[in-house]
């Protein structure tokens, strides 16, 4: 009998063991590997894909002036409406949400008037002659307006000493972004003959055999410096400097690298993201009075797609703003040469190697990105500015393994649900479970106790 029960126990244990073994077997999945040509190119850092995007027209204080831990709007700031009137009215920075926004001027002359010889007190008076501007330059946005950007800053890197390269507008700054120089050294304007005499980072990369692409949102290939277009289309050749070069238009190999933005998503999906990607927007540039939320969603779409791709583990995505847009910024830009720096603009870096939630205080400008590209892919500097610039490597932590992608939310400070009082559940359900056991226990013990009591009574 005992032997049989032992045998039974053995069989049961065996059945259980086999079933457990089968049950525990799980299929494993590996992340798709990055098989792009860029992944095979030798680099100085783990970054195999560098993506840079240039948005439009916001100063650092305009977007992050109230961001905790950043060099934001100082306490007690009040901008004089008339700088030379000591007893005159002044305007404190205010949240601009709800007010109509116009395209503030952002030319070299406006910059100069706002800079006011280093006094930094001309941010309102610079627009004295313009109707409908008033004190708008002192307006700022915060996390209620651009929650995604603030969430990115919380999770990745925000640069609070990122200066625009030139104390001027879009053209100089975009040329600094790709050539390390202003392009047109005489004025902040395009040249009708083109810029073939100015080397670009793409020339360097092409010569070194490093894969690159220039992605343009709503790209119209017919619009270039030979046919500048008009209206909104005209901005295409300002924001994409490569469209001002004979060689980039006429050389089929080079031209094939200037592509519509849809190609960015296709390249990510097909494991073909190049080593260096430049992106310029069209409708979602955040250029006032355009919707900053639309711009934020545009950027989110680009970073989300990168995070979902095989390139993520070896990528860095940086975006910044081509000029300050006429908005107030309290930091006096350093003078590095006769072109700049200009006022600060927001700059953010998203990468699996980016330090988490760091406000980076390194002084950088647009050429710092060139410097990083040059160092990483071992190509020569383009000009004095990028040769001398700080690069952005202090924002990375290459000693740590790449971080898992986390899609920053479009909501800010989502309240965590109240922690449920689990002890209530355990206590009450535990008591309920014990109740029938106690009743049954009583059914056994009760009669016995009564008998014992009766016996005691008799004795």
């Amino acid at each position: 009998m005992r032997r049989r029960s032992r045998l039974l126990r053995g069989w049961t244990a065996l059945v259980l063991l086999v079933a457990l073994q089968i049950g525990l077997a799980e299929s494993a999945h590996a992340s798709p590997a990055d098989t792009s040509a860029a992944a095979r190119t030798k680099t100085a850092t783990p970054i195999k894909h560098f993506v840079t995007l240039m948005q439009e027209n916001h100063s650092f204080d305009n977007y992050f002036g109230t961001y905790p831990g950043a060099d934001g709007i100082p306490q007690g700031t009040c901008m004089p409406v008339e700088p030379y009137d000591k007893d005159g009215r002044c305007v404190e920075p205010f949240r601009v949400t709800g007010r109509p926004v116009v395209d503030l001027g952002h030319t070299g002359n406006i910059h100069k008037a706002q800079y006011a010889g280093g006094r930094m007190n001309g941010f309102i008076s610079a627009f004295a002659g313009q109707r409908g501007v008033g004190d708008l330059a002192m307006g700022y946005y915060d996390d209620r307006d651009i929650p995604f950007y603030w969430n990115v800053a919380d999770d990745y890197v925000l640069f609070d000493r990122a200066f625009t390269s030139a104390a001027g507008g879009s053209i100089w700054n975009h040329f600094y972004w790709v050539t390390g120089s202003p392009g047109n050294r005489k004025e902040d304007a395009l040249l009708t003959k083109g810029f073939d005499h100015v080397p670009t980072i793409f020339d360097r990369l092409q010569a070194a055999g490093v894969d690159w692409k220039f992605y343009i949102q709503n790209y119209d290939p017919s619009v270039n410096f030979r046919n500048p277009g008009s209206g909104d289309k005209a901005s295409q050749i300002v924001w994409a400097p490569v469209l001002n070069y004979e060689r980039f238009l006429d050389d089929p190999e080079l031209r094939s690298r200037i592509v519509p933005l849809d190609q960015y998503f296709t390249d990510l999906r097909n494991n073909q993201l190049p080593a260096v990607s430049y992106i310029v927007p069209s409708g979602a540039s955040e250029h006032p009075p355009g919707s900053i939320q639309a711009g934020s969603r545009f950027v989110r779409g680009l970073t989300n797609a990168l995070m979902a791709s095989s390139a993520w583990d070896s990528s860095a995505f940086m975006w910044t703003y081509d000029d300050w847009g006429g908005w107030y910024d309290h930091v006096k830009p350093p003078e590095v040469d006769k072109y700049g720096y200009g006022f600060r603009a927001p700059a953010l870096l998203v990468s699996p190697y980016a330090k988490k939630g760091e406000v980076n205080h390194t002084t950088i400008d647009f050429t710092s990105q060139l410097k990083f590209i040059e160092n990483n892919w071992d190509v020569e500097p383009l000009a004095k500015r990028d040769a001398a610039a700080n690069d952005i490597s202090s924002a990375f932590d290459f000693a740590a393994p790449p971080r898992e992608p986390i899609v920053p939310s479009e909501q800010r400070h989502v309240p965590a649900p109240p922690a449920p009082a689990t002890w209530i559940v355990y206590t009450l359900y535990g008591l309920a479970l014990a109740a029938p056991v106690l009743i049954m226990g009583f059914s056994r013990l009760g009669p016995r106790l009564r008998q014992q009591a009766l016996a005691r009574g008799r004795s």
């Binding site: 059945v15 999945h29 899609v407 920053p408 209530i424 009450l428 359900y429």
Partner: protein, 489 residues
């Protein structure tokens, strides 16, 4: 002996398929109770049902970590407990042989086997219901009120396992009221009712003390106003097959041929069956596993019939050995049940019906795990229906909405969050993926068509798919069952 097939059928390939929607919810609730940080955001503790089973499972999760295998094994353990109770009920009501046969039937019955292999509340509920049946039988036999109190307490636990078991009270009331030989004093009945009430109050009290009263109220309103999900033919066509046709026939035959020997025992078993059957046949909302508590009394009635075959049977000129006939009938019945159970739990066939409660969902776990391993954290997705959304949330740890969840609060389960404007959500980059699945598509082609429109409208690109092999006239063909699209504005 009886336990061996019972154990085997309940644990063989038990985790070969991923969890289905209901399992995901209960395991998720248990994980939330255990404080699991990955599942807590997706599975609030207070959703629909009481938390007895989830609470017990959470203790396992607290010490051993969250695993579907542990949940399913715990459910299987309750199932084996039911088998043991069947033996004791059969022995108590009739004799040891009936107890043995009833337990044997219970251990291989497809209805019990299939449900016991899943993290569902119905297995534990059936265990407590069967225990209450045993205690009621003890009361009916001895008329000692303590057994009535114990039965009330266990019926209370049955409610805390799943509140639908309140229907068993109808059967208990009918049995006590209509059985002349059983007399109950009003005082005893009041005490028993008080015990029952005190125990079931745990459910609303925990909900209220945890500040989730509105959840409970909303769920109740929704349950009362839910649309019918099956016709009245659902149970007649599904449950007898799940219990086993020979078992049902044997039970009915026994009741007819042995009607002269009928006493309170049969009344107890019949009323235990009729309470839930009558209610759920009338009630618009039906579910495969809702009638599981009747499996135990049906098994006992069938065992009683099989064991009542006389020692010698004469049919016209044929004289047969009754023992051989009993062995043959029992063997045929048990073999029938065993084969049906094996077919139902084989990995190749399990889960293909996609009838809620019948098994896991092929590809669901694999799709969820792929999402967890490959898609960015905090990315959000849109599935076709809430069932797949639950599975994706459980394995994929990503917020998943369901297109078929109505924006009208009267037409949706209050725990589900609708996407009022999917276009806007995709345009705002708040939804980055769309998950289509063939199971939900089969049930709601309208929403399937709409979901596919979003994939076309928003540059949907397939990033992953899960397939199953299906038989076709040209041989086995891989058919995609779950497809994940990346979408962008």
């Amino acid at each position: 002996m009886v336990a061996i097939p019972g154990v085997f059928l309940r644990v063989w390939h038990i985790d070969s398929l991923g969890v289905n929607s209901d399992e995901a919810v209960y395991a998720g609730q248990a994980a939330s109770l255990a404080g699991d940080p990955e599942l807590s955001p997706f599975f609030p503790i207070f959703r629909a049902h009481p938390l007895l089973f989830q609470g017990m499972l959470s203790v396992v999760y607290h010490f051993g970590g969250v695993s579907t295998l542990a949940g399913r094994l715990m459910s299987a353990a309750f199932g084996l407990g039911t088998v043991v109770l069947l033996y004791f009920i059969g022995r108590l009501l009739y004799d040891r042989r009936v107890g043995f046969v009833a337990a044997l039937i219970g251990s291989v019955m497809p209805y019990l086997v299939v449900v016991n292999r899943q993290i569902l509340l119905d297995g534990p509920m059936t265990f407590f219901a069967t225990l209450a049946l045993y205690l009621m039988a003890r009361f009916a036999q001895s008329l000692q009120p303590v057994w009535l109190y114990a039965a009330s307490g266990v019926l209370g636990l049955t409610f805390l396992a799943k509140e639908t078991s309140i229907l068993l009270l109808g059967g208990v009331y009918a049995f006590l009221a209509l059985t002349r030989t059983i007399t109950v004093r009003l005082r005893h009945l009041v005490i028993a009712s008080a015990i029952y009430l005190a125990i079931i109050l745990v459910y609303p009290v925990t909900v209220a003390l945890s500040g989730a009263s509105s959840t409970g109220r909303n769920f109740l309103v929704w349950q009362l106003l839910r649309r019918a999900n099956h016709s009245w033919l659902f149970y007649p066509s599904v449950v007898p097959v799940a219990i086993g046709i020979p078992v049902v026939l044997a039970a009915i035959a026994g009741l007819w041929f042995l009607r002269k020997r009928s006493a309170w025992q049969e009344k107890l078993l019949i009323w235990w069956i009729l309470g839930p059957v009558i209610f759920f046949e009338i009630w618009a909302v039906k579910g495969y596993q809702y009638l599981l508590p009747i499996a135990a009394p049906v098994a006992v009635l069938a065992a009683r019939a099989l064991c009542a075959i006389p020692r010698r049977v004469s049919i016209r000129r044929w004289r047969l050995s009754g023992t051989a006939l009993f062995l043959a009938a029992t063997t045929v019945t048990v073999s029938w049940l065993l084969l049906t159970s094996v077919v139902k739990i084989m990995p190749a066939t399990a889960g293909t019906a996609f009838l809620a409660g019948t098994g896991g969902v092929p590809g669901g776990r694999e799709a969820g795990q792929w999402i967890d391993a490959n898609l960015p954290k905090d990315s959000q997705m849109l599935a076709l229906g809430p069932s797949m959304a639950n599975i994706i949330q459980f394995y994929g740890h990503r917020k998943t909405y369901a297109l078929s969840v109505s924006p009208n609060p009267l037409h949706r389960n209050p725990v589900y969050e609708p996407v009022n404007n999917p276009d806007l959500a995709i345009r705002h980059n708040n939804l980055q993926y769309i998950v289509w699945d063939s199971f939900s598509a089969e049930r709601s082609p309208f929403f399937s068509e709409n979901l596919m429109k979003y994939t076309k409208r928003y540059h949907g690109e397939v990033v992953h798919s899960e397939s199953v092999l299906v038989d076709t006239p040209v041989g086995k063909v891989e058919k995609p069952v779950i497809v994940i699209y990346q979408v962008r504005p």
